[in-house]
Amino acid sequence: MLSLIWCELYKLKRTPFVVLVALAACLFPIPATLVSMRGGTDGSFLSLSFLLLTILAGPLLLPVVGGCLAVLLFHRERDWETLKNLYTVPVRWSGLVAAKLFVVYLGCVLFSMVSLLAVAATSSLTGTPATPFFSCLAAAALVGFFYASATLPMILLVLWLDRGTLLSVLLCVLYGVAQSIQVFGGLYYIAGTASAEAAPLDSPLMWSFPILVFRWYTGFAASGQMVLGPDTAPFYLDTVPLLALSLLLMLVCGGLMVLLGRRQEV
């Protein structure tokens, strides 16, 4: 498995998309942080990271990054007819799927963490201490993990449709936009109540994936704890249900991807 993962990473050598993503992860948070410091937040590092990871970069960019990375990794094998070489090694399709999804997860986690580091650097340079740094960094890693899981249904759709790269990338962008719309819809809904904690949870919007991440982030980033105190529930979410949901998505979507590929002949 380690060899497969090494190979998947090696295949990304000289890929302009990777450079683009790295630049986006480093540069996008800087203006976002500077603008946010002027208003809309209390100016603390925690609020800035919360804004970036759960409202701006998280829902919009992470599905695009994860999705495009998956499109690149899966379509390249098809477009360049390398599957036959891999199958005759022999490499199993299930192993390939696992290695490619690992790279997608790694890409999302790294993107999220690098974005957080960029926020930390920007806020530090403008005189705002980057605290609590390590719990925010861990939260960023988890945001990357959660959004990578949230991207899996879209990757499954792309594999099932088996269309060209352009259409697949377009789907990833649309998926990212849809995630952002859910966040802003949720925020609009919460804004109509006295406080976030008082927002009724009977709306389906409050259970959409980006809002679940939104409801989880603050508690975890502030304390770095896996479990929040009962006084903050039910609005704030514990880490365990989100992790369980992500693992469920991973198992179901990953399993379906394996089944989908097994039916295809080279």
Binding site: S3, L4, W6, C7, Y10, K11, K13, R14, T15, R76, W80, E81, T82, L83, K84, N85, L86, Y87, T88, V89, P90, V91, E265, V266
Partner: protein, 307 residues
């Protein structure tokens, strides 16, 4: 009982209503080069894909190294090097980098294997050119390097000389011949180019519309289809006796009840005619045949020849 490196039993592949390969029984002996000859669309690539487990047969069985392929892929496939259809590599990586990926997956730790494989096909080891910048010939060479990199016992090569220039073709031909003669490798190669098969193969299989029409050694095919005297008489058994007793030759083959093929070209044609007539046989036809392998191919496939 002969142990074949490749043996197929009634191997069949259907795509919908179309039968691509029909009850194929292929036999490949160790240490030989087997040329699978057929026109475009004859089913050569489909056969090779089934031999490698890339395509599931509709019916029949593939035995490799005496074992059924199905269920033994992990044991069998590492012993095979293959090139199927066009070379497939990552366009953003150099030839060396591409091979490094497969070397890693095959568990080849040494960089020497990559260097040697590239040297064998005449490609540089540390080249900065990425695969997308390669010419068709270079791509084909890289694919052959990949096939031989792990020193397999069996090579399955689908149209290995595609895209190569004449010198490249001669180099690869000599390289494959050397692999077989000096290293004892067994090679199954397909081609629609008859001259290539006749220059390289020890055994030949002629595949036409998914059916294996012939499976013979090249020597046997050449003997059967080289120069000969064709004889049509009223009774071929009687003619055979006359050839043995009167003309003292056994170099002939009875083809059916009324025709023979005399392989001994030293016999004068008028003498043959006189002997047959004197023996009371009706002589319908007597002529010198100069069949080439291509003529033979045309005859058995019932179509136009191939390049």
């Amino acid at each position: 009982m002969t142990t074949y490196l490749i043996e197929t039993k009634d191997l069949t592949k259907q795509y919908g209503d179309q039968t691509s390969v029909n009850r194929l029984n292929l036999h490949l002996r160790p240490g030989r080069i087997y040329g699978l000859l057929g026109r475009n669309g004859a089913g050569k690539t489909t056969t090779m894909k089934m031999l490698l487990g890339l395509t599931r047969p509709t019916a029949g069985e593939v035995l490799l190294f005496g074992m059924p392929l199905r269920g033994n892929e992990r044991k069998i496939l590492p012993r095979i090097g293959s090139l199927i259809e066009s070379p497939g590599f990552y366009p953003n990586l150099t030839g060396t980098e591409n091979l490094r990926i497969f070397a890693r997956l095959r568990g080849i730790p040494s960089a020497d294997a990559i260097r040697e494989a590239l040297a064998l096909v005449g490609l540089p080891y540390r080249d900065k050119k990425v695969f997308s910048q390669y010419s068709l010939g270079m791509k084909q060479r890289l694919a052959i390097a990949l096939a031989v990199m792990h020193d397999p016992e069996l090579l399955i090569l689908d149209e290995p000389i595609n895209g190569l220039d004449p010198i490249g073709i001669a180099e690869i031909r000599s390289f494959l011949r050397k692999l077989c003669d000096e290293k004892g490798k067994t090679i199954l190669l397909s081609s629609h180019i008859l001259s290539e098969i006749s220059l390289l193969a020890d055994d030949v299989g002629i595949l036409h519309q998914g059916v294996l029409l012939e499976e013979e050694s090249l020597a046997e095919l050449e003997a059967r289809n080289g120069r000969s005297i064709h004889l049509s008489v009223s009774d071929s058994a009687q003619a055979a006796r006359l050839l043995e007793t009167e003309l003292h030759t056994t170099a002939f083959r009875v083809e059916d009840d009324h025709s023979l093929r005399i392989l001994d070209l030293g016999l004068p044609i008028p003498a043959i005619a006189r002997t047959m007539l004197a023996g009371g046989l009706d002589l319908q036809d007597l002529h010198l045949c100069e069949d080439t392998l291509e003529d033979y191919f045309k005859r058995v496939t019932g179509g136009e020849g191939i390049a």
